[in-house]
Symmetry: C2
Subunit: 202 residues, 2 copies
């Protein structure tokens, strides 16, 4: 007889944690050898599990990659939140902390941003690229709000878009080895200094 109401407690292993573990393996591979090297078998080996396990928790590769993308976004978000929480709530210090947190300054952030960049490039040509957009727009609005709270002249929304695009560019320049993380932070600071300087305007 078929159980129509099986209220199953996952028991045994924590699926979320396993997925987390496998996703971390994907990130490590993507950051070291590139996302194109992240085959199902490689991921399984890197995570120390069998191929079947990866298939079990993520039925298809697309599903795995989507989960990894969400995982990366969440990691970046946590990073930003933590950096912001340690700062006073002044709009200027908030923006400095929040945007700096997005730069690849240490090994962990470098891995995250690198994997994110690889994934981002893939989504540019796949016909289902929207998901990252809402996140980006929310971030833009958040930054714009703070720019508005500060009394900068000019459109806060414009300033926010510029600052975020600059952060993206700085991320890439660090990943490419053109700047160090510290240099990128310095450049971002320089830009924010100029953006916040209100020159004799009315």
């Amino acid at each position: 007889m078929i159980r129509l109401y099986h209220d199953w407690v996952p028991t045994k292993v924590d699926h979320e944690e396993r997925r987390h573990q496998i996703a971390e393996a994907v990130v490590r591979i993507a950051a070291s050898r590139g996302l194109q090297a992240a085959s199902m078998r490689e991921v399984a080996a890197e995570a120390g599990v069998s191929l079947r396990l990866v298939q079990y928790y993520f039925h298809t590769k697309q599903e795995l990659l989507a989960w990894v993308l969400a995982y990366l976004g969440q990691q970046l978000g946590r990073r930003m939140t933590r950096a912001v929480a340690a700062q006073p709530a002044s709009p200027r210090t908030f923006l400095y902390a929040a945007l700096t947190a997005l730069l690849p300054t240490d090994e962990e952030s470098r891995r995250i941003v690198l994997a994110y960049a690889a994934h981002f490039t893939l989504t540019l040509t796949d016909p289902d690229q929207e998901p990252g957009l809402s996140y980006a727009n929310a971030l833009r609005d958040l930054v714009a709000e703070r720019f508005g709270q500060a009394r900068v002249n000019g459109d806060p929304s414009t300033k926010a878009a510029i600052a975020l695009a600059l952060v993206s560019g700085l991320q890439l320049s660090v990943l490419a080895g053109q700047h160090t993380g510290e240099e990128a932070v310095a450049l971002l600071t320089s830009h924010l200094d100029e953006a916040f300087r209100t020159p004799g305007a009315a």
Copy 2:
């Protein structure tokens, strides 16, 4: 008997033009379906030639991709040069024209920048990523020189690095559909306006 001095005129077909034709096929594929879809067979089909031909002109896939990368850089350079040549030599108009030319504003530039981005991401994790760097540094020096010629306050080199990182970020934001090409141009203009505004400084 072996000819030690065969001064062979390639005759028949122009190798350079064939390579150009095949490289264009790679760019089209990369821009529409992603660089990972650019297999040798797909490239051959897109270029309307046989697989053997692609192998003939580029012995290996690495060689093909390297050639495509150079081709893209050259295309971007030509684009910038042309835009600059049409402008008066004022440092400000020069920078506006040069940097705007790098943004994906029409279909051609969109294809080029998209393919370039895909290739760039690949080089981030491959152990031979330097080639693009010298080009980037040369560009940075060029922009810094113009910033120096204009009488902006602050370090010209810093301003140049910021402007170029901003351009990279704007490129990506357009490719991701976050901004239109026109919006990106407006944002870049806004930034340059602010960078060139010399506020009551000595």
